[in-house]
């Protein structure tokens, strides 16, 4: 018999209680995996979307809303002449409800701008001119909105026609309703307004150069902020809020997990009081008792963590397939996130075991004689 057998026996003496505790931690860790995975996935899919559009720098004013704040399209004129800028493209991107779908990305792009070039037609065609009352749909958007070529689609108060289905190379692009900027400005009464400027830098610039260029742009356009495409979403207030919410909720779930494990360990130590005293009476060191309790709760944490990662991953996969959010979600379930989650769970286990371990190590061996 090894010491590990002792640990396992300790957990197996009340299989139902151990099982329920494991379910408790698993749900907490599943929440961590799901919430953090989704919010990080959200961040990553936005920046992938930018890259797919061929964008190096994004100029926008990410206020407190999910979509950036509009500004005058004339602001763009003040930067086009900067030497390291190869091309610019004004956009108006909004998150709105379209027909049956509650959250759809509407991406209106400057007619002739480079953001159109990355779209690969799967079927149909692109708009013929800037004011033709038509849209093209990303593949996922077409699926979610249940639209095919020739179908009408209601945007703001106007009925437009679907003329093309495109593959935009990234989830955000594929989940978007894409139309011409002047058309959208007109139907949404945002004439002369944009909320994003995509900038393509001259080839060969490194990360440092891009950052410098951003700084130059920020001087010229104080109304908005220029950021390297990858950082853009991570720096938005809305994303920060979502991220803080998901970590906050995760923290709550973890605290509930700690209390659950601590309660279980206190109960097990309490009901094994006499056994612990017997072990002390037959020569076990207090350090060994502490180690036994801590290893038991760490093992609870480890098993709960593995269970939680499994439940969380499956849950996110199910969520991803739900019609309401299908095509909007590309969760980041990286091995790193999973490893961190399991590690958090083991730490939860150890922390929860500290007090019960301390309590049990203070028992007197003479109590073994009683009862």
């Amino acid at each position: 018999m090894t010491f590990f057998t002792v640990i396992v026996r300790g957990l197996m003496r009340r299989p139902v209680r151990t099982g329920l505790t494991l379910v408790g931690i698993s749900i907490g860790i599943a929440a961590v995996v799901a919430l953090v995975g989704i919010s990080r996935g959200f961040e990553q899919s936005w920046s992938k979307g930018m890259k797919a559009r061929g964008t190096d720098i994004v100029v926008s004013n990410m206020g407190n809303a999910l979509a950036p704040k509009p500004f005058n399209s004339s602001l763009r004129d003040s930067i086009v002449s900067l030497p390291k800028i190869a091309a610019t493209c004004g956009l108006f991107v909004d998150l709105t409800s379209i027909e049956s779908s509650s959250m759809t990305i509407v991406s209106a792009r400057e007619w002739g701008g480079f953001a159109w070039q990355s779209l690969n037609l799967v079927s149909g065609r692109l708009p013929k001119d800037a004011m033709e009352p038509v849209v093209v749909l990303g593949q996922n958007a077409a699926e979610v909105l249940k639209k095919k070529l020739g179908d009408p689609i209601q945007i703001e108060a106007k009925e437009l026609t679907v003329v093309g289905i495109v593959d935009g190379g990234a989830l955000v692009e594929n989940g978007s309703v894409i139309l011409s900027l002047p058309l959208y400005q007109k139907i949404s009464s945002n004439e002369g307004k944009i909320n994003i400027i995509d900038i393509r830098a001259t080839p060969g610039l490194n990360e440092e150069d891009i950052k410098k260029l951003c700084a130059e742009i920020n001087v010229l356009i104080p109304e908005a902020r220029a950021m390297p495409a990858g950082d853009n979403v991570g720096n938005s207030q809305a994303y920060k809020f979502i991220s803080a919410m998901s970590w906050g909720t995760s923290l709550l779930a973890v605290i509930v997990g700690v209390l659950g494990v601590m309660n279980t360990m206190l109960m097990t130590v309490f009901e094994r009081k006499q056994e612990i005293c017997i072990l002390l009476a037959i020569g076990w060191r207090r350090a060994r008792i502490i180690r036994m309790v801590l290893l038991e709760s760490a093992l609870l944490g480890l098993l709960g963590g593995i269970g939680g990662v499994m439940i969380g991953s499956i849950g996110v996969k199910v969520l991803e397939r739900m019609p309401a959010i299908h095509g909007l979600l590309e969760p980041d379930l990286s091995p790193r996130l999973m490893a961190i989650s399991v590690a958090i769970s083991v730490i939860v286990g150890v922390i929860s075991g500290l007090y019960p371990a301390w309590r049990s190590s203070r028992l007197k061996p003479s109590l073994a004689m009683q009862g």
Partner: protein, 243 residues
């Protein structure tokens, strides 16, 4: 079990010289902030290889005295020496409990989630022997108490007499030189009580182990070479007083 002896004797000689096993003077133990005086000044000397029975009415302090000898609790006053060294002053009491003494309780006190052979191995974690060696040793101890056919049984599947035999095997796990037994036959029918008592006395003789046995049963006490009678936390009589 012949292999226990040389290891044991060597340790006794190196660690504790040749003084008396226990030398107790003026030993006092209070409970409940002094409201209960369980031991009111006990003087006692026990030599290597003795079989001492401690008797007396319920509540007179027998178990308390045994707990002091086994370092399960510490006295409030008096001196308590083990082989010439102050027992409460030992730096490593856990090692003393694990290796110097074996302890047997009235209620057996096996751990219910471990099989017979695992229960016997529990004290061995405090030695550095490898797991396989610990198991072999536990099996041979169970054989020595006549339980080779019950090795993998859990305590609930064993009779009272069998449980006490497992407990005896466990008390011998690290080759102690002193056996402390508190009413070891108190929970057994008379037939099993006899078998267990015979076994304990046989082990005491075969291994020259010092045996201190608490009992209120005078027929059991009669088998000891020396009987100490207690009353109200004091020694009333000692038929072989050496101190």
């Amino acid at each position: 079990m012949a292999h226990i002896r040389p290891y044991l004797m060597k340790q006794i000689l190196s660690d504790f010289g040749s003084a008396a096993v226990f030398e107790v003077t003026g030993l006092k133990k209070n409970y409940d902030d002094g409201n209960v005086q369980a031991l009111r000044g006990v003087d006692l000397k026990i030599d290597q290889g003795e079989f001492v029975a401690i008797t007396g009415p319920s509540g007179c302090g027998k178990s308390t005295l045994l707990q002091m000898l086994g370092a399960l609790d510490s006295p409030n006053d008096g001196t308590l020496n083990y082989r010439g060294k102050s027992l409460p002053g030992l730096a490593d009491l856990a090692a003393y409990r694990a290796k110097e003494i074996g302890i047997i309780f009235q209620a057996f006190h096996l751990l219910p989630t471990f099989t017979a052979v695992e229960n016997v191995q529990l004290p061995m974690f405090e030695s550095d022997r490898p797991a396989s060696e610990r198991k072999d040793q536990a099996i041979s101890l169970l054989k020595a108490v006549g339980l080779e056919h019950r090795i993998n049984h859990f305590p609930t599947k064993l009779s009272g007499g069998e449980r006490q035999r497992v407990a005896i095997a466990r008390s011998l796990a690290n080759g102690p030189s002193v056996l402390l037994a508190d009413e070891p036959t108190g929970n057994l029918d008379s037939e099993n009580a006899h078998i267990i008592l015979d076994l304990i006395i046989r082990l005491h003789r075969e291994q020259n182990m010092t045996l201190v046995l608490v009992t209120h049963d005078l027929t059991i006490a009669a088998r000891a070479s020396r009987t100490i009678q207690m009353m109200d936390g004091r020694i009333l009589s000692d038929n072989n007083a050496t101190s």
